[in-house]
């Protein structure tokens, strides 16, 4: 292990349709059915959105949380390739796959939310570019970054199929040509990959922060605790922290599901970085609170205040201290709980910004997402899990189990 810092990755050998996977698939299909229902009968039929609350669960969770939780892709890329921390190399591939799937499903999730989903390509048309729009920047960066992610992932596909191209039936005659293409792509990508890795980090910094700028345009409708001009900085710094957290969370879940031992020799040192990143976020957030005197609202009876105590107090500050403790970092159970807490914290933070701390002027009642909204969101998350498992079975993503060495 000391000689080779690059652990060997291999397709996993586990059975795909375990009992758990069958249950997951059933729930997944049930959730996705609501997506189909929305496409046939419209937004009103499935969602509780209205003229007062135009953005709901699908934007807060599927899109905003999805982007935040996919931050593991660029944070691990920056860590290993830019800052040359080769000891974390084994997390690169799973983190990249999580990011790839995360962003892909941000796009898919968005299709269900957009009223005119078939126009989703419009922001890419130069005649419709709108440089003043925060959302335009988010859209463009996400679109470009998605392509970068696929390019970053492609060498893994090449590795799996180079020299093993075996197309069915008549297509077999193209085996050699495809193999040559894969080798060529692998060669070229290997040479210029660093360009894409840095591009991925820059693009991520841009759109992770700009997601936090979105609601800054409506200060009068935001609860004072969530009204700051520093919104972009909050979203960016918390994305750094949750990127690494998500790698730990995902690695431990995948490990448990695939009956592997948690890779504590990588995750524990990775967790040691989190308090620095999370500390910056907490510092900026508290500093802003002092500057704007928004702490005056901390004991107000209001949903946004309750959410603040939960998402920030309980699910950000507490995990921060947990990550600080070396005992917890070394304990698989403790580390998993800390990571899970902050992942949920991010989910609640993004949701709060988009539809809980957002107080429309003429709302007669609060927006509570409909069953169909929860169902589709659940369905999409489970689809990510499903595809993740399929791809780690098919492609060399996860480190090969120790016993093979």
């Amino acid at each position: 292990m000391i000689m080779s810092v690059h652990e060997h990755a291999a397709p996993v050998q586990n059975r795909f349709f375990t009992a758990g996977m069958k249950l997951l698939t059933a729930i997944m299909l049930g959730g996705l059915a609501f997506g189909l229902y929305r496409m046939v009968f419209g937004l009103r039929a499935v969602t509780n959105l209205n003229d007062q609350y135009p953005l709901g669960l699908w934007i807060g969770v599927d899109v905003a949380t999805g982007v935040a939780l996919a931050a593991g892709g660029f944070t691990s890329g920056a860590l290993v390739y830019v800052f040359n921390r080769e000891n974390f190399h084994a997390v690169i591939r799973p983190a990249l796959l999580t990011a790839l799937l995360g962003y892909t499903f941000v796009g898919i999730g968005l299709m269900f939310d957009l009223g005119r989903w078939y126009n989703i390509w419009h922001p890419a048309v130069p005649s419709m570019w709108q440089g003043n729009s925060v959302l335009f920047e988010v859209g463009m960066c996400v679109m470009i970054y998605l392509n970068v992610l696929y390019l970053e992932f492609f060498p893994i596909v090449c590795e799996r199929f180079m020299g093993r191209v075996n197309l069915p039936g008549r297509l077999a005659r193209f085996n050699d040509a495809v193999d040559m293409l894969l080798r060529f792509a692998d060669h070229i990508l290997g040479k210029i990959m660093f360009l894409f890795i840095i591009a991925g980090v820059v693009l991520s910094c841009l759109h992770q922060s700009s997601l936090g700028t979105l609601m800054v345009i409506a200060p009068y409708k935001m609860h004072p605790l969530y009204r700051s001009q520093l919104g972009p900085l909050f979203f960016l710094t918390s994305a750094f922290a949750v990127g690494l957290t998500m790698i730990i969370f995902e690695s431990m879940i995948a490990g448990r599901s695939l009956k592997r031992k948690p890779e504590m020799h990588i995750l524990t040192p990775l967790a040691k970085i989190i308090p620095y990143l999370l500390g910056i976020y907490i510092f900026v957030k508290l500093g802003d609170m002092v500057m704007r005197k928004s702490y005056l609202y901390l004991f107000q009876d209001h949903p946004a205040v309750i959410m603040f105590w939960i998402e920030f107090g309980l699910l950000t500050v507490v995990p921060f201290f947990m990550f600080m403790s070396s005992d917890i970092r070394r304990s698989p159970r403790g580390l998993f709980i800390a990571a899970a807490m902050y992942v949920v914290g991010i989910l609640l933070n993004r949701s709060t910004v988009f539809f809980i701390a957002y107080e429309p002027l003429y709302a007669t009642k609060a927006y509570i997402p409909a069953i169909g909204e929860f169902a589709l969101t659940t369905g999409l998350i489970l689809t990510i899990v499903f595809v993740y498992r399929a791809l780690v079975t098919l492609l060399p993503v996860l480190p090969a189990p120790e016993k093979e060495h």
């Binding site: 419209g42 937004l43 830019v82 126009n119 419009h122 709108q130 729009s133 959302l135 970053e152």
Partner: protein, 308 residues
């Protein structure tokens, strides 16, 4: 008395505005250009009797709105609740128990047609545009249906056709831009009003007119023209006999809504320097750490760029 109160109000609002702004955003806002000859409408709510003729005229001229029978516009029971515009209504009149001398007061709502519209700034594809005349209009063909405009609007005006499965539109008052304004006619609602509640004209003239009325009848009006300064100014201006908060107008600062986000965006993307700078910095760090490591440990080794 009234004058000093007005000055006081203006001063407090100004100070509040400054606290919200910070100096730089002021400069940013001034970069946004507004046509000084643009049109506007002054709505004197104290003259409104709640006949809803404006609602009827609006429904008649906007033929793509759901049709309403003429009798519906005479139905006073709608006043029992405070209505808002929706996918089928560009303007509503509400009744308030706040008129002077015990009589009910009324207020008409529609899109304010901001001078610095949040919807125009927010829209991802430029589906909203602001015409030099002052009208803020919407192009459904471009729209992707993200509804960010609705979240951005400081007056919560744009409504959405949530029930329309395939071709939902954002709906809001068009200032009768297509049908009337572009051919030199006044908006349908303005023309329909029997009480001359609404005055159409050059926005600068309307402000003078509003001030004149407040000066001449200080007992009739609160000393404030709503929309003169709110969020940088709106094309539709309001006079009221009661504080505007009592007739459901939001209390807003004087800083344009796009002035909160556009400076951030234009700083981040100033000549693309910050992203390029970040790219160069990260590249530099990568190159430096990599070359140092290669020299130290493995002079013949190959720097691994690939995900392997």
């Amino acid at each position: 008395m009234k004058h000093s109160r007005r000055t006081f109000l203006q001063k407090t609002a100004g100070v509040a505005g400054l606290i919200l702004l910070g100096g730089r955003k002021e400069a940013e806002a001034s970069r946004l250009q507004v046509n000084p000859d643009q049109h506007g409408v002054l709505v004197d709510t104290t003259q409104c009797v709640g006949c809803r003729n404006c609602e009827k005229a609006c429904n008649e001229i906007n033929e793509d709105l759901p049709r309403r029978p003429a009798e519906w516009f005479k139905d006073e029971s709608v006043f029992q609740e405070k209505r808002r515009m929706d996918y089928g209504t560009y303007t509503v009149v509400n009744r308030y128990d706040s008129g002077s001398s015990g009589k009910p007061g009324y207020a008409k709502f529609q899109c304010m047609h901001c001078l610095y519209p949040a919807c125009v700034s927010a829209c991802i594809v430029g589906a909203f545009t602001r015409e030099p005349s002052g009208a803020v209009i919407y192009d459904a063909w471009k729209c992707i249906g993200c509804r960010y405009c609705m979240a951005a609007c400081p007056f919560q005006v744009p409504a959405y056709e949530f029930s329309n499965v395939l071709t939902p539109q954002v709906r809001k008052c068009t200032f009768c831009f297509q049908q009337r304004l572009s051919t030199g006619k006044v908006p349908a609602c303005v023309e329909s009003c029997p009480m001359e509640v609404m005055t159409f004209g050059k926005r600068t003239d309307l402000i003078m007119l509003g001030r004149e009325r407040i000066r001449s009848y200080p007992e009739r009006y609160v000393p404030h023209i709503y929309g003169e300064q709110e969020v940088g100014g709106t094309s539709w201006l309001y006079l009221s006999g009661v504080p505007f908060g009592k007739i459901d107008f939001p209390v807003l600062g004087y800083h344009p809504a796009p002035g909160y986000t556009e400076p951030i965006q234009h700083t981040i993307f100033k000549w693309f320097l910050p992203p390029l700078g970040l790219y160069a910095t990260l590249g530099g760090i990568m190159w430096y750490l990599r070359s140092r490591r290669t020299k130290e440990s493995n002079p013949g080794g190959d720097a691994h760029q690939r995900h392997d």
